[in-house]
């Protein structure tokens, strides 16, 4: 069979590299201060000096999307790091050992995962108050169950394979079996799960910040920018357009990359 080019993977990689690069740039450099207000530049149209125009307070939208994207990226990455690390440990133990503890833990995970993360996120933030770190904590905890379930399924698949049995017979410690014998085999599936998790994290953060219950008032994030721009949507559509584009590209890139990874696996 002729090997078809994996467009998802290629395009996804390019888009992800671009949007992540863009967001990462915002961590170090913005052409203007994202909070500097210039009265004369209020509602300035996109131009050479301000490629994305200026907002209702005369702030440079390009600088703000750079900073907003970097905030959104940091939050999403922190969320999947928390969710993935905890999910990996829980899922690996549950999948490898099984038993009653596994059943109980998985029931709890199912119960949590049944609720939309935006709703649970709102509930947690209603209790803790808004803020960047509260968003990370809330979403991070909420993302544990789905990762745990994914990891558990993979570890369950490998726990009775011959190479694992052989390792057990040779007296390899369980910890070593889990993380240096089984884990490397599961990476491809986990990677595509990570891209989905990343997407959901970006979506959830954007939605929550859009609702005004995400990052704090001082922070810039893509969702918050869009929320602020909503009132000026009819008069200055570019205020919504550019943060929206960055958000969509960030999600689209990771989504296609995940799809590409899965396609690549399917061919093997």
């Amino acid at each position: 069979m002729r090997k078809r080019k994996n467009w998802y993977f290629v395009l996804g990689l390019i888009l992800t590299a671009l949007s992540v690069g863009y967001s990462a740039l915002g961590l170090f450099w913005t052409p203007y201060s994202s909070t500097a207000m210039v009265g004369a530049d209020r509602y300035a149209l996109p131009s050479l000096a301000h490629p994305f125009g200026c907002d209702h307070m005369g702030r440079d939208v390009f600088s703000r999307t750079l900073e907003g994207a970097s905030a959104t990226l940091t939050i999403a990455l922190a969320v999947i790091v928390i969710g993935f690390m905890a999910g990996l440990v829980i899922g690996a133990l549950c999948g490898y050992y099984g038993g009653a503890a596994d059943a109980v833990v998985m029931r709890i995970c199912d119960a949590i995962a049944a609720f939309p993360s935006v709703l649970l996120g709102l509930v947690i933030l209603a209790l803790t108050g808004p803020g960047k770190y509260n968003v990370i904590l809330a979403l991070g905890i909420l993302f544990i169950p789905s990762f745990a379930r994914l990891v558990r399924g993979e570890f369950l698949k490998y726990r009775d394979r011959d190479f694992v049995r052989a390792a057990r017979l040779m007296g390899v410690s369980p910890l070593r079996i889990l993380f240096s014998h089984i884990l490397p085999n599961t990476w491809p599936v986990l990677l595509s799960g990570l891209t989905i998790g990343f997407n959901n994290a970006v979506l959830a953060e954007a939605s929550m910040s859009y609702l005004g219950i995400g990052v704090g008032p001082g922070d810039t994030s893509l969702g918050r920018m869009i929320s602020e721009a909503q009132s000026y949507f009819t008069t200055a559509p570019w205020l919504v357009l550019f943060p929206a584009l960055v958000t969509v590209l960030l999600i689209l890139g990771a989504g296609m990359l995940g799809e590409g990874i899965r396609e690549r696996l399917g061919e093997d």
């Binding site: 609720f115 509930v123 209603a126 005004g212 009819t234 296609m256």
Partner: protein, 315 residues
């Protein structure tokens, strides 16, 4: 069979109790006394005590929970701190709006995705299939509030088919008025979910088409269309229907966000406002209400799975 149903019903009741208990306790153990925000800081101790007794705050937590749980059925859910109005009354008019929005979204998802999913699988690799694969990927990447913006821009500002913010449950003239305004918000919720459903249904049908019984059906002289409709589709629909039932929870969550974009006065908008105002009796009631919907939908999905797949019935 009866035993299984009873067991699952028991599990449902336990889950419901647990979920409502968590929703209640989470907002009841918060520091700060609601009487402060109602009476202000200059209230006398007698006033505070009287109000605490009136709100039932002097009772132990479990008793407050039981009272509140009873209130879920009678509509007596306490008084909103912010609106100074019974929560039940406050939500009564809004529940219908959100229910209509969620219901309409769900209908749209089914109407859009099932035919498209079948067409994509039937003509795999064709123009429609390839176009939709690309479109799906893009639609799934647009958060639903942005989709809401796009729809408002196109249909409200450019085509002037409807005016944003013109909707209120009180002024709506009958059923069609509701429906015509709620159509676009519903579309904003439905499109990303439809994209997922199309993708899933397509994959599910194509998976079934590789099975042995399909080869048997072909060998008996059935055409491709007949095999798809009469053999593959019935099996392929099983996971999709479960997925759709689970989607209801996401649709309700989506309406929290989209109500904000289109200024629809439903419980989602109320939830967001009340979180901002720290109006916990309202938040408690809405969270419990949405949680009930989620739990019941999952229960229904599981039941549907058993009804549709005879292989699962014996277990």
């Amino acid at each position: 069979m009866t035993k299984t149903i009873l067991k699952r019903l028991g599990l449902l009741v336990v889950t419901l109790l647990l979920v409502t208990f968590l929703a209640f306790v989470a907002f009841s153990i918060l520091p700060g006394d609601p009487t402060n925000s109602i009476l202000g800081l200059n209230a006398t101790q007698e006033q505070v005590d009287a109000l605490r007794a009136q709100l039932g705050l002097d009772l132990p937590l479990w008793q407050r929970y039981l009272n509140w749980l009873g209130g879920l059925f009678t509509g007596n859910l306490g008084i909103s701190y912010n609106y100074d109005m019974p929560v039940g009354q406050l939500l009564a008019g809004r529940v219908g709006v959100t229910a209509a929005l969620a219901g309409l979204s769900f209908v749209l998802i089914v109407v859009i995705s099932i035919p498209l999913g079948i067409l994509c699988a039937r003509y795999e690799g064709g123009v429609l299939d390839r176009a939709l694969t690309v479109l799906n990927q893009i639609t799934m990447s647009i958060p639903n509030f942005l989709l809401g913006f796009l729809l408002t821009f196109l249909f409200s500002l450019v085509l002037r088919w409807f005016t944003v913010g013109s909707f209120s449950a009180a002024t709506a003239q009958g059923f069609w008025d509701w429906l015509s305004y709620l159509f676009f918000p519903a579309l904003a919720i439905a499109l990303p979910k439809s994209a997922m459903t199309v993708k899933m249904l397509r994959g599910s049908i194509l998976g079934e088409m590789r099975e042995d019984y399909i080869r048997t059906a072909y060998s008996k002289g059935n055409s491709k269309g007949a095999v798809l409709w009469r053999f593959a589709l019935r099996n392929a629909m099983i996971p999709v229907i479960t997925f759709l039932a689970m989607t209801i929870a996401d649709v309700v969550a989506g309406s929290i966000v989209v109500e904000q974009v289109f200024a629809v006065q439903g419980i989602g908008q109320m939830l967001v406002t009340s979180i901002g105002n720290r109006d916990y009796p309202v938040v408690q009631a809405i969270v419990a209400f949405i949680a009930l919907i989620v739990v019941v939908c999952n229960f229904a999905a599981d039941g549907l799975y058993r009804v549709m797949d005879p292989r699962l019935r014996q277990r």
